[in-house]
């Protein structure tokens, strides 16, 4: 801001058109309104090159801060470094960056999201007979390998740690969009009708898995555990067909809001915490009241 009373300009960058990022943007907008800053929003559409273009464009436009979820911990450093050396404050959310110039990093630990669902699954696993648990995983390895991997290993590690039974991963495939996951989960269920549970690492994967289990007529036998909280998934949890068991949702609104807030406070010269973990919320079938409450909060 060249003139004193000109509002701060903050660029918010997301990398995908999905519900999670939509809500993050809403959080950003709310914070921008509350703090009276001008917000510009961009989407890199999962393309590292496009991310660079966006960062460069905003740098030239002369924004005061960039609030971004970098596409890659390493590959995204370069452009942001440039922005930083041009005097722009960089605030990270959702995904990390291997650099120490960012003002703050707000995230739900991806590993922790997995762990949270994993812990919920552990309770269920204890109730099963036999000492081998057969698990299928739907991830997004060819989309965002780093995040996908963190969520999956968070889940598996926690599950393994909290049970004496053998946890066997019978299948790990990609499926992050509903219709894509539906097909893949359908195929997996055919190959392994005896699996005990499906873990899906994002919203689309979870929706697809639930519908696949329903289509296959395996409701009640195969349980689904997921990541991300949406109205549709909450509905699935409340359904009486006993398919979806638990999801851990991030709190995207809070992440978005807090990220912009952190940027503003930094620009105002206040100190901000280097790393902020916004905890996930666990929604469980056993706790319908909690689900209702979460739905009401939205």
């Amino acid at each position: 801001a060249e003139e004193a009373d000109k509002p701060y300009q903050i660029a918010g960058i997301i990398f995908q058109n999905d519900q999670f990022f939509q809500v993050i943007q809403e959080g950003m907008r709310a914070a921008a309104a509350d703090y009276g800053v001008e917000l510009v929003l961009g989407n890199s559409d999962n393309d590292p090159q496009q991310e660079i273009e966006l960062v460069n464009t905003y740098t030239v436009r002369g924004v005061d801060a960039i609030v971004i979820s970098p596409l890659s911990e390493t590959a995204s450093v370069q452009a942001l470094q440039q922005a930083y050396s041009d005097g722009i404050a960089v605030v990270l959310y959702n995904s990390p960056l291997a650099a120490d110039f960012p003002v703050s990093y707000l995230n739900s630990s991806q590993t922790q999201l997995g762990s949270s669902t994993g812990a919920a699954a552990a309770d269920f696993v204890e109730s099963l007979d036999g000492d081998t648990i057969r698990v299928a995983v739907l991830a997004f390895d060819s989309l965002l390998p780093e995040i996908s991997d963190a969520r999956v290993s968070g889940f598996i590690d926690t599950l393994r740690a909290s049970t004496n039974k053998r946890v066997e991963i019978v299948s790990r495939q990609d499926g992050w969009l509903s219709e894509m996951a539906l097909q893949t989960a359908g195929d997996i269920l055919t190959a392994n009708p005896d699996i005990d549970l499906i873990y899906a690492a994002n919203e689309g994967g979870t929706v697809g898995s639930v519908q696949a289990v329903r289509n296959a007529g395996l409701a009640g036998q195969v349980k689904v555990f997921g990541i991300d909280a949406t109205a549709q998934l909450a509905g699935f949890l409340l359904d009486d067909d006993d398919v979806l068991q638990a999801v851990t949702g991030q709190q995207p609104f809070i992440i978005g809001y807090d990220a912009v807030e952190a940027a503003v406070r930094h620009l105002n010269g206040e100190s901000v915490e280097k790393t902020v973990i916004v905890p996930g919320v666990l929604l469980e079938r056993q706790d319908p009241a909690g689900i209702q409450e979460w739905l009401a909060d939205r």
């Binding site: 509903s178 219709e179 997996i188 190959a191 929706v207 509905g235």
Partner: protein, 321 residues
């Protein structure tokens, strides 16, 4: 017509060989449930693929189908929600929504033909522009969030079965039969081949070239609409992210089936083989739990090998420029 039968069915044989390999190696591949599953999976892209075959035979192309699927699903969910907000019972609202969605989808297809006929804008370009535009509209309508306005029973359309055959597979069979009939046994079908083979000659032979394009592109739009509704029913939501990248997969299936991008040559039966070929590859590799990355490599390689074997015998229309 006078070719030895075996050679003519080479692509079918390749598909069969693939199935045998998977039957021997992939757990559960031969189970009835799995085969029905494959049918359900290929049904969605398949319907569009038949129509796309006709479009490609006529010398045009439609790259917007993937986005059109998302667009239709979103419109469907949004209309349902809107009708419900008026207190219209779902049993009435949903059929009306279906009809309106199909009309909208057909009109979108029609406009691609309109740009071609009235302004000579190649369908490649218009549909490429629509690919982004329809996706943009689908996002605008939903605001990026899935619209989950459907009642439980709506799932039957995409997820249900009739006499244990998945409903989408029934759709596939009907659409296949219709196109097979149109392309091979009607005068209109001949016009399509003629237009693609030589549009000017077709026109001078008294064929209404523009009408052929209007019909085919509207039909493709309509079938993308049907597919969009089925997908929405499967995932019980109207989501703007579905259908992404379908256009290239569908075109792959058509070309594996022997159609020529230059127009004038291709068979609906070939496309049926093409979509099953792709569907079986994906299903088999998933059953085998092959890593995502290897799947990409193997899928590309299998497509190439299939076309190569087919071309070596000089049998497919795909050999034309």
């Amino acid at each position: 017509m006078k070719r030895p039968r075996l050679e003519q069915y080479l692509m079918e044989l390749i598909l069969l060989a693939l199935c045998v390999v998977f039957a021997l190696t992939a757990p559960g591949f031969m189970r009835t449930r799995n085969l029905l599953n494959v049918m359900r999976n290929v049904a969605l892209q398949g319907m569009i693929a038949f129509s796309m075959t006709a479009v490609i035979i006529s010398g045009e192309i439609d790259l917007s189908v993937g986005s059109a699927v998302a667009f239709a699903g979103v419109i469907m969910a949004w209309l349902t929600q809107w009708f419900t907000s008026f207190g219209l019972p779902l049993a009435v609202g949903i059929p009306i929504a279906v009809i309106l969605t199909l009309v909208a989808s057909s009109v979108v297809g029609w406009t691609i033909a309109y740009m071609r006929n009235a302004f000579s804008v190649p369908t490649f370009i218009t549909s490429l522009a629509y690919l982004t535009m329809l996706s943009g509209f689908a996002n605008l309508i939903t605001g990026g969030f899935p619209i989950t306005s459907f009642p439980r029973w709506f799932n039957t359309l995409g997820g249900g079965s009739f006499l244990s055959v998945p409903v989408p597979a029934l759709f596939l069979i009907v659409v296949f039969a219709a196109f097979e009939f149109i392309m091979n046994h009607t005068s209109f079908g001949r016009s399509i081949y003629a237009v693609g083979g030589n549009a000017e000659a077709a026109r001078l032979n008294g064929i209404n070239v523009k009408r052929v394009k209007y019909v085919l592109l509207s039909l493709t739009g309509c079938l993308a609409g049907v597919t969009g509704i089925l997908v929405a029913s499967q995932i019980m939501a109207g989501t703007p992210t579905v259908g992404r990248g379908w256009e290239l997969q569908i075109i792959s299936a058509v070309i594996i089936g022997g159609a020529s991008l230059a127009g004038g040559a291709g068979r609906i039966r070939g496309t049926l083989i093409g979509i099953f070929f792709l569907g079986v590859i994906i299903n088999g590799m998933t059953l085998l739990n092959i890593s995502q990355y290897w799947q990409l490599v193997v899928r590309g390689a299998l497509i190439l090998i299939a076309i190569l074997i087919n071309n070596l015998r000089g049998l497919t229309g795909a050999t034309r420029t």
